[in-house]
């Protein structure tokens, strides 16, 4: 026996256990006592007090704990004695572990002895008496981990076991080496497992803590510093904390303690901030196509992985913890991370930084699953104002920026729309549609009407450009197969037989066959669109069952929501912002409510005065924004042209930055702008084929003019000249916009605000003016530029629009898909934009001889791309979606056509988009009107 035990090191325990079985308990007890007697001899020999150890133990313990340094009582302990004790201890602990509980849960004799003799305390004191080094701590920790984890009877119920354990634990708090930390966390984790299984121990832990004079829940407090640790230690600590969290859900006392007496929630939330600050402020973007952080992207970034781990932990805590803890944590995340850290990060000075933050935000929203935490993020996005501008408005305005910021912003909105969240949809779109201002009064009853005969689908599909019509492209490119629809009925009731002379018969085992022949060409591809539309609408409809209202033009009622004040943010507006001092500023500041419309005269008068800066200067950011706003105050965001202008201004800035000196033939600028306006009125009319080109040239001309006369920045003048004609409703007022140029910010200054928060959405306008909201406007204006957009932008755009179209709310459906609906003249509809695109395409097709060939190449290229994407990702099912799921790796470059031929790719995509929309419209006609049932 002795030799067997002596062999045993910790790794060999399992083997020994087998051997020990069957050894009778009395023998074990004898061996135990024997070994303990040997230990006691050595212990007493070195006991400086040589008195009753247990009575003084606590005092010694406290001294030992507080210093934590080397402690000696009496002379140094000889090494051989130390190792002898070590040996005996191993043996007795082993015997303790292997002992079975007595009858009816009573202690086994060995445990009873351990408790009576205070074995564990004395051993702990012994280790204090020697040098209490990391090694010593490690040894003790391992000892406890072993007996707690492997004992066959509950040990922690007994104070003589628990107390020295608590002393050991508290001695390990604070600074210790990584090995000790790892072991400590591992032991804590184990203790939490015991707690989770046996809650009666919990009380003991609390009591023991009180004995120690510290009213804290020690194992919990010890874990907190490891919350954000990376690697195994952090993971174990978080797992252990989660166990306690789920315990808190049932135990009010634990919950209260954590919420009131610990720094758990603040540590978690501020930890997020800390980890966030170590993330790269600028991402290395793999390619132009890149628009969001995929898993394979962030797995390459250790700091981001770490952040996401902590975020995931917060998510898990919120999921399992007591509501008190949950609410506290959510509040800290909002006020300790989102508002002070993420909001400023979304307003960093460079495009790349802002783009990066947006991509992070998108990733975070996608990573969070717990509704309460998601709500925190969403209310930050939807309601928080940073320097008096809603985050949402800023984000929406950025959709219109060139470069990747626009694409990344689009991707963020794709994520948001995909949440099926009423609050998001309300803020983005529905609140603008509820008043039903966008349609003619007589049309309100049409909102809920269903399209029985696929009229809208037919109208949408009739926009298919002639060069892409189904007959024109040969199979297999268009994935057309000809299906002969079976002649089930013909005209007479009794001739219900199928014709069988066709080329291909497909038996499905039922005796009924599907006849495929050559009689009618059907776009088989379209069946897939229908199938996807059905899936999309069904899941969306099911998800929207939790919504508060049907949004059908009656509920919520159009009248009540008419004034529609902007909801207040959860935090009071910042007091550092001065009160508005003049009417223009008032206009700007109140813009989020239904502010009064400034008369053009007043606007001119006010703005021609030197700006009256209040005593306390508003933040620079706000100042610049305000300046931009003043410039735009008249013409800003009138439905038809506003966002179009934005695109051009952004592009302008971009081009200027790039020192791109493209020269084009000159044209009369004003004529062009006027053209542009009239085109917007009637979308079917010609829209300038190369607005950007003309715009560049405009700058050039004006720039040189200015150089002759005074040499101010060309951009100012452009703004001046350009904006003037665009202010359609105000044109008669002959506003002298040149007066604004005095206050026009320099290009550099303007630059920072341009991709920031220029937008003031549906606010500078009076609410009586029909407006479908900035988000819809910005989407449609980007869509209108489809022919100039890169492929991936168009994929995102059409994806978002299809996503929106799948929503079952009649207000949304009728606005996007009902081609029979009559809207107010100033309201631009999706169908109008599509019709205008079709005309642009037809024009291109008629002027470019090789257009059909290019179309075919582009189709080939897209098909190849789709199948290559399919290979990468197996969960794809839709033809177009496959294309949408763009990966960071560049697609196989087509041999015959360059992706720069955006108009060609856009044409192909446009055709597919029509099918997608038509399919959605058709499915709505049968799905949205049937009560959901599975």
């Amino acid at each position: 026996m002795a030799s067997m035990v002596a062999n045993g090191n910790r790794d060999g325990r399992q083997g020994e256990a087998l051997v020990l079985k069957g050894v009778d308990p009395e023998t074990c007890m004898i061996v135990f006592k024997n070994h303990w007697a040997q230990v006691v001899k050595i212990l007493e020999k070195h006991d400086p007090l040589r008195s009753n150890t247990s009575s003084n133990m606590a005092a010694l313990g406290v001294i030992g704990l507080s210093s934590g340094g080397p402690m000696r009582f009496g002379g140094p302990i000889p090494g051989d004695e130390a190792s002898a004790v070590q040996n005996y201890v191993e043996h007795i602990l082993f015997l303790l572990m292997e002992e079975d509980a007595g009858q009816a849960g009573a202690m086994g004799p060995i445990l009873e002895f351990v408790v009576m003799e205070n074995v564990m305390e004395r051993l702990f004191l012994w280790s204090l008496r020697r040098q209490f080094t990391d090694d010593m701590k490690l040894e003790q920790l391992k000892m406890y981990e072993m007996i707690v984890g492997q004992a066959r009877q509950p040990l922690l119920h007994h104070k003589p076991v628990l107390r020295p354990l608590m002393m050991l634990l508290s001695s390990c708090s604070g600074t210790a080496g990584p090995e000790v930390e790892a072991e400590l966390v591992s032991l804590l984790n184990q203790l939490c497992c015991v707690l989770a299984k046996d809650q009666s121990v919990l009380e003991l832990f609390f009591h023991t803590s009180e004995d120690q004079g510290a009213a804290n829940f020690l194992i919990f407090s010890l874990l907190i510093p490891f919350i954000h640790r990376e690697g195994l230690v952090g993971q174990q600590a978080r797992d252990a904390l989660l166990l306690i969290m789920s315990l808190s859900a049932e135990n009010q006392r634990v919950a209260q303690h954590i919420a009131e007496n610990t720094y758990f929630c603040p540590v978690l939330a501020t930890g997020l901030s800390g980890l966030y600050s170590s993330l790269p402020t600028k991402l290395e973007v793999p390619g132009e196509e890149w628009h969001c952080l995929h898993r394979e992207d962030w797995l390459q970034m250790p700091t981001l992985v770490q952040f996401l781990n902590s975020l995931e932990f917060c998510n898990a805590v919120i999921q399992v913890a007591h509501p008190n803890i949950r609410d506290q944590l959510v509040s800290y995340i909002y006020n300790g991370f989102l508002v002070p850290v993420l909001a400023p990060a979304l307003h960093k000075p460079t495009l790349e930084e802002v783009m990066t933050t947006t991509a992070y935000l998108d990733l975070f929203v996608r990573s969070v699953s717990e509704p309460v935490l998601l709500q925190t993020f969403l209310s930050f996005i939807l309601l928080h104002r940073h320097e008096n501008v809603h985050i949402l408005d800023t984000l929406v305005s950025r959709i219109n920026t060139p470069f990747q910021l626009g694409t990344v912003s689009l991707a963020l909105f794709q994520t948001l729309i995909g949440l099926y969240c009423e609050d998001v949809m309300l803020q983005l779109i529905l609140r603008y549609l509820i008043p039903c201002n966008h349609m003619m009064l007589s049309q309100r009853r049409v909102v809920k009407e269903r399209d029985f005969y696929s009229v809208s689908a037919a109208k949408i599909l009739a926009l298919t450009p002639s060069c892409c019509s189904p007959e024109h492209s040969p199979p297999p490119l268009r994935q057309l197969d000809s299906i002969l629809w079976s002649k089930g009925t013909d005209n007479s009731p009794n001739t219900g037989t199928m014709e069988t002379e066709e080329t291909f018969l497909e038996e499905d085992g039922s005796g009924y066959s599907c006849v495929i022949g050559s009689e009618i060409y059907l776009d088989v591809n379209y069946l897939h669109y229908l199938y996807n539309a059905r899936l999309g609408i069904s899941s969306c409809t099911r998800a929207c069952q939790v919504w508060s209202a049907p949004y059908d033009g009656e509920d919520p009622p159009p009248e009540e929501s008419h004034p529609h004040p902007r909801p207040r943010p959860p935090c009071p507006p910042q007091t550092t912002d001065p009160a508005p001092t003049n009417q223009l500023e008032l206009e700007w500041d109140d813009s989020y409510d239904a502010g009064p419309v400034v008369s053009p005269e007043a606007a001119t008068a006010e703005s021609s005065k030197p700006p009256q800066l209040p005593a306390a200067e508003p933040p620079k950011h706000i100042q610049e924004m305000r300046r931009t706003a003043i410039m735009l105050v008249k013409g800003s965001y009138i439905e038809e042209s506003d966002f179009q202008d934005d695109v051009m201004v952004y592009d302008l800035v971009a081009k200027k930055d790039a020192r791109d000196t493209v020269t084009k033939g000159s044209k009369e600028v004003k004529a062009h702008v006027a053209d542009h306006n009239s085109n917007l009125q009637s979308p079917l009319a010609e829209v300038g084929d190369d607005l950007m080109g003309q715009y560049e040239e405009l700058i050039r001309t004006l720039g040189s003019d200015e150089a002759g006369t005074g040499g101010s920045s060309p951009v100012k003048t452009v703004d001046k000249e350009f904006r003037n004609p665009v202010v359609t409703p105000m044109e008669e007022d002959e506003v002298d916009f040149s007066s604004f140029s005095m206050d026009t910010p320099e290009l550099e200054k303007q630059h920072s605000s341009l991709f920031g928060t220029k937008l003031c959405s549906g606010s500078t306008r009076s609410h009586s003016v029909p407006f479908t909201g900035p988000f819809v406007s910005v989407l449609l204006s980007r869509l209108e530029n489809m022919l100039d957009n890169s492929l991936h932008v168009n994929l995102l755009l059409t994806g978002i629009l299809a996503q929106l179209a799948a929503y079952p709310q009649p207000l949304l459906q009728s606005f996007l898909l009902n081609t029979n609906m009559v809207f107010q003249p100033s309201v631009r509809s999706l169908y109008q934009v599509l019709a205008s695109l079709k005309n642009q395409i037809e024009q291109q097709a008629s002027t470019k001889k090789d257009f059909p060939k290019l179309i075919t190449s582009a189709q080939h290229c897209l098909l190849a791309r789709e199948s290559s994407l399919k290979g990468q990702d197996s969960r794809e099912c839709s033809p177009l979606e496959a294309g949408r799921m763009m990966k960071s790796s560049p697609p196989p470059q087509p041999k015959t056509i360059s992706l720069a031929r955006t108009e060609v790719f856009a044409t192909v995509l446009f055709t597919e988009f029509l099918k997608e929309l038509a399919a959605i419209a058709q499915e709505h006609s049968i799905l949205s009107h049937v009560p959901m049932e599975e």
Binding site: I483, P493, D508, P556
Partner: protein, 290 residues
């Protein structure tokens, strides 16, 4: 398969619980949906033997209508069918055929009046230029003795009620409703069965006894094989507790607690909007953020 899904629903929503049980044949297995494989829709599809309507074709240029026309027709009929379900017509059941969406099988249960206890199977034929053609036709499997039912073909005179079929105004459920009404309100004007009309006007007692005979005749053929060889044709079998008890139980229990049924579904949508409000995060139970 759409139609079939709706049918399942339509059946369970119905109120009819007569002694007989309708029984469908098991639906034939459909091939699973795969990318390059033709899905099952064409099988339910309808023939296009002539343009839907000259006007529509002319208006829709560049061939999109030729390619998509069948889809429009299919979905128009699906929409009609969803409307029928919504109406919950008492005592009427319909089921589109497997072969064509233009042919619907139906059965009508008459609960009171002269034709009480009558169970009449019929077929609805929808013109293939629907909704621009004439009104759908209703033909009873067995010509029931009725002034408006042709004693030879079994066709009901529907056209008198829908002289001109108007899209958006007329719907197939109205035809079915009409088919039901004729058994409760007898009209003898311009009859297809003059004998029945004359008897009703001149000798109601004889008319009644003829009706009783006709009802008996129809009911005696109830368990016959369906006239049409179609997997979705409606066929009846006599009560078999082993099969029908369980089905009945399911139908009743399902009807009683549709809410519970829905509660079980995991819902992925989110809303923090208080009902009646149009403000985001207006619900009271939102955790405070500041």
């Amino acid at each position: 398969t759409y139609l079939n899904d709706f049918w399942e629903k339509g059946r369970s929503d119905g109120e009819e619980q007569s002694g007989e049980q309708q029984q469908q044949r098991a639906s034939p297995a459909r091939p699973s949906f795969g990318k390059k494989q033709l899905p099952s829709i064409p099988k339910n599809a309808v023939p296009i033997t002539k343009p839907a309507s000259p006007a529509a074709t002319a208006q829709l240029a560049n061939g999109t209508h030729a390619s998509y026309g069948p889809f429009y027709l299919e979905y128009s009929l699906l929409a009609e069918f969803t409307l029928v379900i919504k109406q919950k017509l008492p005592g009427i059941y319909v089921q589109p055929s497997y072969k064509s969406a233009l042919m619907w099988f139906g059965v009508i249960f008459i609960r009171h009046g002269l034709y009480q206890d009558g169970v009449f199977k019929f077929t609805v034929y929808i013109p293939d230029n629907y909704p621009d053609g004439e009104c759908p036709r209703v033909v009873f499997d067995i010509p029931v003795f009725h002034p408006l039912v042709d004693p030879v073909s079994g066709e009901l005179d529907v056209r008198r009620a829908f002289t001109k079929w108007r899209r958006n105004h007329n719907h197939i459920w109205q035809v079915l409703m009409y088919a039901r009404t004729v058994f409760y309100k007898i009209n003898t004007m311009e009859p297809l069965n003059p004998e029945a009309a004359v008897l009703y006007d001149k000798d109601v007692q004889l008319f009644k006894s003829k009706v009783v005979d006709s009802v008996k005749l129809c009911n005696s053929h109830l368990f016959d094989q369906p006239k049409m060889d179609d997997p979705y044709a409606i066929s009846f079998s006599s009560w078999n507790p082993a099969i029908h008890d369980e089905a009945k139980e399911r139908m009743f229990s399902h009807k009683r607690r549709p809410e519970d049924h829905q509660k079980g579904l995991p819902v992925s949508g989110l809303s923090w909007v208080k009902p009646g409000s149009t403000q985001p995060f207006s619900k009271d139970d939102n955790p405070p953020l500041s």
